[in-house]
Symmetry: C2
Subunit: 346 residues, 2 copies
DNA sequence: ATGAAAGCGCTAACAG
DNA sequence: CTGTTAGCGCTTTCAT
């Protein structure tokens, strides 16, 4: 049987600038200039180079470029999770701004674990990014040290209740909790249940809860019952927790959830059960997620300004790299309560 | 006024191996060996180096390391979007596997746009990743060329209706659509409405729809009405579209949604309206998202095996890099229908 | 067990 | 407008 025509033994070595240089008969340096639109190059050579690069299928090696130029157009974005619904929206905001620049976001996930944050941060910094956007103000000493000595802009996001390493953009969760507490009292509720995530590692949820109880305390009210969860489908958990709590404490007249998703699950169950909302029992969540728009009734909530936080943070990094220093070290956004159909407006 | 004590003029230059070398009195080469746990180094020097590195706060420069070693432990993951709920779960699967290796995922988003996919792919390949995991089988010629010549493992995910460049892992969306079509006919429905995303750029939604209509055609049935959307809160859109469709075609006895989220929105509305489900009107979605667990009734759906797809894809890349070639070029997972409470079981 | 020399592929800086 | 010369910070390879 005749041997098939030998396919060119694909020399898998990636192409280099030199290959383009040889193919086009132009020096490596000029090729480099063309490919980066830098300096003046005659239209003729420019054409030659571009054609050679395209026909060869040349893909530049950013590793080498970054090492030589000492510049890396990457912004490290360090967030707890992608399945939180909150962070994809922050990313959207970041992208919207970075898209207009040379910068590219690179995401690292921490799963809300400080040790993992430290590890991820170390990994990311070893790529020498041009800036860091990191969720939260609470970090290990080692993490803080790395961020301080990295010599690049650092923006801590989501939260402004604390002191930033460099810059922070977010909302005051303590204040958000306080405002919701006040609004609930103003609506006349006194027997209030809290349903939320375990407050261990989620500092922002904890701060909201602290602000909340503080506001209630000023009105002489204490949280009457509480229920915590972790893991699982938030909607289903909200349903279960609500069921459990109403069975245990049937006299509650308000349910405050630490996030909209469990709140939505609870709301669906309460509607099914025929509770008179918000007259007999009021309800509220936190975040202002769009999902709420699709529910039979709108859950009261406070917008957490996720996309704007992303945009502002990215803008700060971008500005800093071009030398601008518009914003101060603290950018606090002010979210407003959406009363929806589950909390009486004063 | 006396001048404050001059703070050490922070020499912002990042530390290099050389700094650690000088601080520890050990050659750069040996420092490098210690930091990578490579080769034999005496426990004593090892200690010295480690201590010096830690106290200085040295963070290695992966840019330089990658250039020198010609190895980059990055896997490019290219997906359409993070707000689709499907892709974060794929990422979870990918992470779960890569976590056990030296490899790190880096995500690029395409927004379902081929031109953007091409751009993102080019960007990512210029970092010389060790492998690529990319959603879908449809790519521009240029993208396909880049992937082919990159000389690294390429895994196309989600879909198996087509020919892979290298390897593919997913489900047959055409078959999923067909099976749902058959199940609906088997349950006795004949007046069927379809509600979905515009079928333009989402090839997998299109394939499902094609399989679906094909199955119906075999039973002599055609889609009686259809409604498309794009953008906005999927839950709210599902509600609106369902409302519109039932107003226009009140005689429908089944609503088939191209994804679970709009299906959930529709289901909530149908329940509110008091429709007799599934006896008078049946409903089904697609994806098997966990969110459905929290609804008053469970929507019928087909699981899209997202996390497993991620796991298998990552495993293939990891295996390839260590020389293994366990799987063939096609890994097709077989999802099963979940009838839930909205589709009668045969 | 440790060190010296030679690049990895590209770009800054300077010549022409 | 184009080319030449040195590195960027690390790892490979080869001595010792």
């Amino acid at each position: 049987m005749a041997r098939e025509l030998q396919v060119t033994p694909k020399d898998t070595r990636p192409l280099t600038l030199r290959d383009v240089s040889e193919a086009s008969g132009v020096s490596e340096m000029t090729v480099s200039r063309v490919l980066r639109n830098r300096g003046d190059v005659s239209a003729a050579t420019r054409e030659k180079v571009l054609r050679a690069a395209k026909t060869l299928g040349y893909v530049p090696n950013k590793i080498a470029g970054a090492l030589a130029s000492q510049r890396v157009n990457l912004v490290a974005v360090i967030i707890p999770s992608m399945s939180n619904l909150v962070f994809p929206e922050v990313m959207t905001g970041i992208n919207r701004v970075l898209e207009q620049t040379e910068l590219q976001p690179v995401v690292g996930l921490t799963d809300y674990l400080p040790e993992k944050e430290e590890k991820v941060l170390f990994e990311m910094l070893s790529w020498r990014p041009s800036g860091v956007i990191i969720a939260g103000l609470e970090h290990s000493d080692a993490s803080r040290a790395m961020l301080r000595t990295a010599g690049i802009p650092v923006v801590e996001i989501m939260d402004t209740d604390g002191t930033p390493i460099d810059t922070m953009v977010g909302i005051s969760h303590r204040r958000a909790g306080r405002e919701m507490g006040r609004a609930i009292l103003a609506a006349g509720h006194r027997r209030i249940g809290f349903l939320g995530t375990g407050l261990g590692l989620d500092h922002r949820a904890r701060k909201r809860f602290e602000g909340f109880t503080e506001a209630l305390a000023k009105g002489g009210v204490e949280v009457a019952d509480q229920e915590f969860y972790s893991g699982g489908s938030a909607l289903a958990k909200g349903r279960e927790m609500t069921m459990a709590m109403m069975a245990r404490s049937p006299d509650l007249d308000f349910l405050y959830y630490s996030n909209d998703l469990i709140g939505a699950g609870g709301l669906l169950w309460m509607i099914e059960q025929g509770y008179d909302i918000p007259d007999k029992v009021g309800m509220a969540g936190f975040n202002g997620v769009r999902l709420l728009q699709g529910l039979p009734r709108k859950l009261a909530t406070i917008d957490s300004c996720r996309e704007e936080i992303g945009r502002r943070a990215a803008q700060i990094v971008a500005d800093r790299l071009t030398g601008d220093t518009k914003d101060g070290p603290k950018v606090e956004l002010t979210p407003t309560i959406a009363f929806g159909d589950t909390l009486k407006q004063p």
